[in-house]
Symmetry: C2
Subunit: 492 residues, 2 copies
Amino acid sequence: MAKDFVKRSENYSEWYNELVVRADLAENSSVRGCMVIKPYGYAIWEKMQSALDSMFKATGHQNAYFPLFIPKSFFEKEAEHVEGFAKECAVVTHHRLTPKKDGTAGLEPDPDAKLEEELIVRPTSETIIWDTYKRWIKSYRDLPILCNQWANVVRWEMRTRMFLRTAEFLWQEGHTAHATREEAEAEAKKMLNVYADFAEKFMAVPVIKGVKSPNERFAGAVDTYCIEAMMQDGKALQAGTSHFLGQNFAKAFDVKFLSKENKLEYVWATSWGVSTRLMGALIMTHSDDEGLVLPPALAPIQVVIIPIFKTEEECEKINQQAQRIKTTLEQQGISVRYDDRREYKPGWKFHEYEFKGVPLRITIGARDLAEGKCEIARRDTMNKELVNIDTVTELVKPTLDDIQSNLYNRALQYRLDNTRKADTWEEFVDILEHKGGFISAHWDGTPETEEKIKELTKATIRCIPFDNEKEEGRCVYSGKPSSQRVIFAKAY
Amino acid sequence: MAKDFVKRSENYSEWYNELVVRADLAENSSVRGCMVIKPYGYAIWEKMQSALDSMFKATGHQNAYFPLFIPKSFFEKEAEHVEGFAKECAVVTHHRLTPKKDGTAGLEPDPDAKLEEELIVRPTSETIIWDTYKRWIKSYRDLPILCNQWANVVRWEMRTRMFLRTAEFLWQEGHTAHATREEAEAEAKKMLNVYADFAEKFMAVPVIKGVKSPNERFAGAVDTYCIEAMMQDGKALQAGTSHFLGQNFAKAFDVKFLSKENKLEYVWATSWGVSTRLMGALIMTHSDDEGLVLPPALAPIQVVIIPIFKTEEECEKINQQAQRIKTTLEQQGISVRYDDRREYKPGWKFHEYEFKGVPLRITIGARDLAEGKCEIARRDTMNKELVNIDTVTELVKPTLDDIQSNLYNRALQYRLDNTRKADTWEEFVDILEHKGGFISAHWDGTPETEEKIKELTKATIRCIPFDNEKEEGRCVYSGKPSSQRVIFAKAY
């Protein structure tokens, strides 16, 4: 048991905060709402980036880079967009500091270096990108444009939590331009599928794909598609969104193209993004009271080898075996750390790598080795097994694969066990109060009802699932007719 | 000859600006001093990043991420540092926009959302990182810390040029912490060597390694090491710097560690960085009046295959050959584009890929194919050759290697041809006025002389080369005694 480490059942929120820090993933910085992503946490993010980047390129996208700053006037051009972001943005007003005019020590913004127009640190880049696309797009031959950007963005959130909601965060934002509505809609859906595949195959996080209700839509979108995951406290986490933007930004920035039929038309758009928030989803889906649990596909260290010995002779024999195992596994593309540091005891190391979520541990003890054995321990189940040391390398890949699928299946089962139908308001409130999780319920389709339910219960519509069955029913709140159930939950 | 494209000999500066835009590398954005890096330019930067990142990791460094914003008070803690950066920084003063109070349309920074302390958009991250390291470092066991960050930074330059000097640019910044002076100095030199290796092996850009004179030192460093390259107009370009920071930042942020001898000591530091400026160096070293020239090691497309045919039957035969060649080359890890688009003519394609610097072109024409031949054309020499199509794939790798080393050798020869000794002030001025290039001359070692020379000629000391021979002489300007020559040049 991890020492002094709060249990999930005691205080899930504190458990999360402590885990992030103690597993060396991230910490709060001295800058309000901004975190420092530590090397171990960043290594996981790099693996996410690498997998996603390959998936984006395989679907024909290219990376580019657009300015960090957005002129205030650009921001104002799309009415809903500015409404959504103006209240929480970092505003640059000066381009120089100067010694304080009142003669006291220190610096102040130089009044002579006040910007003519304020610049906003990008909260998202639709506006600056569509200002750019206006220069790139003249004819249908210039379409589609399929760009992605890896970048930092800033949204001045008042209540922040590491990875889940921070003032600055890292993300990717895809921005595409198309000649037709159909093509843009298909693109937005395609990228949502890419996100879902990534979440399920790499993160081992099962997700529900669907469309957002109007209240939860991205500011400036016609439709927002999303993937929603369930955390271990039953709350939902939106893990990625893909927006069909219609012609909203093309109209705001006057981007037209000459069609094959020689007509000037507005361009159709999508944007889609996932962020370091995925780290929060990853942590909260799998980890336990012993610390972090990582799916092998994203673990910076997949296997750790720990020696136990008393004499130098024993040490030497173990070293030989460890090096052989390490080399063999690395040839299979598996990342291995052999931790032969003498200043730390085996027990300390066990705890350390367990807490950091290393999927598989191989312990080579002198006594076991004398019998041709070593121990393998799985982080997901905590199961330990003595195995033949000569053939242990053959077990590793299948075991890692099994851990990967076990984590996924466990998370899926958890979600299924905690998704309930509610047909009356009493049921709805009772589930939220006593059980949590997802609620599948009828909704009358109005923003007013959605707003009212949120006000009364804090639950929101997470999505209208794509694969929904049509079913006649009555809204769980208003009793008005409804043609399908939607997913309600409290959310991060 | 590239149409309407200005020659280097006519106007080198305009040639560069036009090349960047016409080769689709980057363009100016609507935000003053900020550029948009276009997909083709970004693909080259990605190749640079990938190679450098592997080199950093191979030398034991890990990536992490630190906040974009730096509190003004942090900035003020290291006197020279703030002196160096306060005059050109973006200052965030508010965290919200609100409708204008005077009732006119539009938004303004909300006076109720003024920050208590202004935030600076990082021009470099020493201060925020050393504030963090203070929490990470307690004992010698916590050292060394070897972190790198890939990030955007902002320096509010008044005169900007794409890639060479922009308000926002992309870079990596390494920040390391050590227990001893020796270890930190060795680290700073090691990373300079990594930069030099990268420049020479990947960029095919020969560099001179050396130490900066005090005037040219990084604000807050004890010593700045640099690599300097010569552009085709004879001007120098500083391609990377590595700083030995002494204990300056540890003192400013009060970062001490308990040594093995149980004494509290200040930590020793280095920082080192290269940026998208490398793109400028790459472009200006190799490109010519026909457009961009890329070394194969960094070319997003290494080989382009272009078909020439009239009939469908010819097209079909060429297709088969092209696909075979493409597949074979890709198996060798070579990136190939087969451009069989029908809406563009072969001549247009030749020009397009020449202008974009694709190192090798394979042209498969119906007539040549009938004789079992195809044409290969090198971008560096513009040489064309008819070769046997059955064995062309065997020629590609050696030819790419030859292009890579030819570009390096050509650039090295250019630098050697344009590096001159000056022993009198008249010679010094004459070379600068009529020949340009690097001047190897004696200097009395004083900042005053350096400043005066800069004032009179615009030339600065680029570096004191590491491998300098000791040589008694007299300062080219003051006539005072000097023990070695240094490199002077006008610089970007």
